[in-house]
Symmetry: C3
Subunit: 358 residues, 3 copies
Amino acid sequence: MEFTIDQVAQLLGGEVRGNGSEHVNMLARIQEATKGQITFLSNPKYESYIYTTQASAVIVNRDFVPRKALSTTLILVDNAYVSFTTLLEEYHKLMSFQKTGVEEPAFIGKDVAVGEGVYRGAFSYVGNNVKIGENVKIYPHVFIGDDVVIGNNTILHANVKVYAGTRIGSHCVIHAGAVIGSDGFGFAPREDGTYKAIPQMGHVVIEDHVSIGANTVIDCATLAGDATIIREGVKLDNLIQVAHNVEIGRHTVIAAQAGISGSSKIGAHCVIAGQVGVAGHLVVADKTSIGAQAGLLKSVTEEGQRIIGSPAFDKNEYFRSYAVFKRLSDLHHSLIDLQRKITELESKAESVTGGRAS
Amino acid sequence: MEFTIDQVAQLLGGEVRGNGSEHVNMLARIQEATKGQITFLSNPKYESYIYTTQASAVIVNRDFVPRKALSTTLILVDNAYVSFTTLLEEYHKLMSFQKTGVEEPAFIGKDVAVGEGVYRGAFSYVGNNVKIGENVKIYPHVFIGDDVVIGNNTILHANVKVYAGTRIGSHCVIHAGAVIGSDGFGFAPREDGTYKAIPQMGHVVIEDHVSIGANTVIDCATLAGDATIIREGVKLDNLIQVAHNVEIGRHTVIAAQAGISGSSKIGAHCVIAGQVGVAGHLVVADKTSIGAQAGLLKSVTEEGQRIIGSPAFDKNEYFRSYAVFKRLSDLHHSLIDLQRKITELESKAESVTGGRAS
Amino acid sequence: MEFTIDQVAQLLGGEVRGNGSEHVNMLARIQEATKGQITFLSNPKYESYIYTTQASAVIVNRDFVPRKALSTTLILVDNAYVSFTTLLEEYHKLMSFQKTGVEEPAFIGKDVAVGEGVYRGAFSYVGNNVKIGENVKIYPHVFIGDDVVIGNNTILHANVKVYAGTRIGSHCVIHAGAVIGSDGFGFAPREDGTYKAIPQMGHVVIEDHVSIGANTVIDCATLAGDATIIREGVKLDNLIQVAHNVEIGRHTVIAAQAGISGSSKIGAHCVIAGQVGVAGHLVVADKTSIGAQAGLLKSVTEEGQRIIGSPAFDKNEYFRSYAVFKRLSDLHHSLIDLQRKITELESKAESVTGGRAS
């Protein structure tokens, strides 16, 4: 996966100053870049590095005027930072979609439709009646149960486990060890204090452009026909729990180790921080921001609120209360002090008024 | 896996009104059911759907009297909801235990005893000297170490990992990615501030009718002969941590992302909510209910308590305190206000009594 | 893996009283040991067991004088407890490093260097250009991406997933289901409220003597050349989240279900309890102790502090505040009571001073 500096410049619409025929194959920060790598200079405070860098090429803004001699090749562009980001993305896409074909042994069931450019890694398992779109990358040890549908350009990293009946959209990335479609936690108490499992027969729908972190778990819905739904553009971090019949709205972002309990419906464009817990059967309005470790016990009906605490309430109020909490022992002593003073005042008042009455 | 409506009615002890020879193969809610599916009507508020449903059959109570023409077949039973639930369970059992035989390649060690009706999926691994009961379902990518014993009718979903020496009972369901028997977190500090691993040589015992969620982890006990024990009927949700030498009592239910630290002993019939943490070496009495995100730092000796908070204490008291906490800043200002007033009163009292003394 | 009692005594520098030629193959507690097992007596309160134990041998202190007849063989040593621990460790090492060779089918890419004594389990996957040190144990279903380097005597349990480019040191133990090198959670918001994935191109470096728990996740760094770093001797428990660009200092211990957000730098010799959350871009000084479920929102600059709470502050102060919190409703009522008394006092004072002024 090597390019010449000229090729990179062309991709970026940039201009080369130096040896454009040299090959580059990696991207790095200016402090650490070595030969064969390409880097960028955007923030003037890093300028000194450009005079000593070992990088083969540095992307710079068109107005950059070196103050010393340079041993590296320059690529002049309108916005060095944006160009570098573009390059990162292009490189990443190339790398991500590089693998194609089948590594044996790989298992494939009956009646499977497989698109062009698909990669199926060694020890991957694809069940019966599965539809796999174009350019889908199925890494080693991935398990795909029966009747699953996967859209185009989706990547399933090593050992992702997809239960039967799941539907996954296009342009999704699912990280290693994630579990999609496991049984929801549904148990009906019997009179003797034991529990009976409620069969979980629904499925999971993951729309397009969704990202799911490593070892995250998404349970299926309870009834056949129902789905736990992850809407378009949702980004889930690692080790998150999404229970049965949950719906997560479009472009909502959830940080690591958060948990959403059964049947709760999270709005669109929400931001849920790490280790947050959301109780079951709640509705959370669009654009709600829930702070780290918060515990949500009731629905949020108004859009755009910022909440924290367990149970969660308005974030500013929480921090005001917490500031007092930190000195709560002092406050308690002040109160005891006041009680003493009031008792004294009362006895004085008694003696004064008593004196007057005598 | 298709049945006629007549066959379903016979299973339920119900009576058919309509075409009993039609085939059905799925269960769904009345709002969503389509041809070939069977649904139910129990709650009168959904009655309108029965006149438009595409379902091939609807289970109804015997006393149901249609107010309009029906295009679906009815199955009349004593209790439509209970019958539907029964059907769900039967269907689920059929589906769960449908797979049998071996998908190659699958690895099996020496001296393995395998019961009737077992399924071993592709890429499953069974070590040496393992005993596998009847109808056990071992999905793809399951790892079973040496000397493991598994009872009848237990299901290990894709990629469950069972360390050597584990004992699993009958009628258990273990979901994808769960780890059973990993080393406990035992490290002895050395004088230089480094740590030495304490060998973890015990095992895990899982009794009958236990359910374990996806990506949950249960560590083995420390000493050989000792066990981390999950008693009969326990239900563990996803992403739970159960540390070494823990015992979880019969029919206790634990929600997602909770963690039980080493050597703690949880009683029977407890309910532990999501993201709860229990410290090490505690004893929790039977029927204790621990609220979401609580942190338990001391043992619970009396049965049937309901606790929450971090550290946890009585639930009602916690919520009373928390109600004040939410207005703690106001309370603080009230206190400052009182301090000012008392200072005023004191100075007045001084002037009064000062006046009297003069 | 059997030894005679004489061989065990020789290893421990101990003296045999009884039949040294008997074989032993397991270690157990004195209450539970059976024939063929070896146990120890250190605490006098367990002395009674030595007269009835079925164990083939008991390790005792040299000064132990039996008060009754014994049917077991004794091994006399200077410190029975220490000797037993030594034995545990030796036995554990033997067991852990017993497996060698390749179980087929196992996948291995091009240009892989494999050291002596390596075990590659069935269905394990090793990518291209990987370096595997001596005695490395790669259990079934392990995934090792391209360009990974693994030092000597490191154990990767079943189904560990190592993304491309990761570097793992010597004498490490990584438990089942752990994910090393998944993409960091990096998304740049677009103006329309959607998110763009920031390519994650860095890697993970794990130094020597590190232990990583089951289903724990360690994300890679963002930029190529950068690394998420786990320093020498670090011990991570199960289900922990370590985000991109984090550094965890030498010999720091982190308990289960804790999470460290992106770019935070944890010092050396810290102790982080279960379910702790650390926000992003913080620095935590060496020897900091963070209590269970704490949420760290700002850096800790001074060494050796003990903190707890969410947000976290001094542990003693937290518990002082929390003691008042538990009676906060009473405190609130006391305050209301004081307000009433003050109002009374004010009205009295008014009447007194009013009287005087008249």
